[in-house]
Amino acid sequence: MTDHLAMPKSWHVETKPHKFCPGCGHGIALKILGEVIDELNIQDRLVFGVDIGCSLLAWDFFDVDTVQTHHGRTNPVMVGMKRANPDLLCIAYMGDGGGYAIGSQHLVNSAFRNERILAIVINNCNYGMTGGQMAPTTLPGQKTETSPYGRDAETTGSPTLGPEMVAAIASPGAYVARGSIANIKQLKRFMKKAVENQIAGNGFSFLEVLSSCPTNWRTNAKQTWAFVEDEMSKYFKTGELRTPDEKKEA
């Protein structure tokens, strides 16, 4: 008998095992976020906002104040909290549907206004909770429930490159990066820098995490890693796109 093995201190132990599917990348991303929260000791001044979609399953994940918002509206809710109480640290946590589809207006405008919040978007190339439909991030040729012959870039466009989009419009002081669960040490460095950027109050922080969805991809563990490491990282390049001091890690 041990208490809770390898869990970060900020995790809410009573709610574990958590509600995500076996092999879901949300667990890895949230474990890294939990470790960063522990290391920076910010558990008591953090507000964690979750979106609709699989990300809402994180509503009881951390032992921190959590709010669940309307679909795509996590960014403005967190912006409101940050403006009302600048001492808080606000993290908007959403999937690719909430970040790039229904909530893209809020992401773009938050970046334009250089709001001092951190937005984390989990990119798993489909809409996980509703059963694996085509999302803005679905790769060309990838088969989903609503693209059974593979995504056709002619009719449905190319996958959204979120960090590139945000980096193009962000003001000085912004931190924009893309990490992957295939490179956990790099992802942790990015996550820590993004949270520290908000603590320093430099500007908008944005992190995209390439994640896995074995349930809807219908992959076993080996194929899951192959898809994240080979297919996804070919289109979505990991690295830092904007940093406050303009020193970037590829």
Binding site: T2, H4, L5, K16, C24, A221
Partner: protein, 87 residues
């Protein structure tokens, strides 16, 4: 409120101890694919979802690198490294 307890299966390898909890392992298999020395394999024990859980079947090959602990989405695995430095 009493803190929730999770069962723990512990096995000793040459460089450290491998701990895994049947109350947390969801049998996703991500750790098995990432293990550099092919230590992990499916067990007869059942995990939290009633599917065969992971176990250190070839623990003698374990180098205690901690990659399985890092990639586990459920924090079910803990590696305790042995202190190999001579005192």
């Amino acid at each position: 409120m009493a803190q929730k307890k999770f069962r723990n299966l512990r096995s000793e390898g040459p460089k450290g101890w491998f701990n895994i909890s049947p109350d947390l392992c969801k049998s996703c298999g991500l750790c098995k694919e990432k293990c550099p020395t092919d230590v992990l394999d499916w067990s007869k024990e059942l995990g939290v979802y009633g599917s065969p859980m992971m176990s250190a079947a070839r623990i003698e090959q374990c180098i205690a690198c901690g990659i399985c602990e890092m990639v586990c989405p459920d924090a079910a695995i803990l590696i305790e490294k042995k202190d190999t430095k001579k005192k």
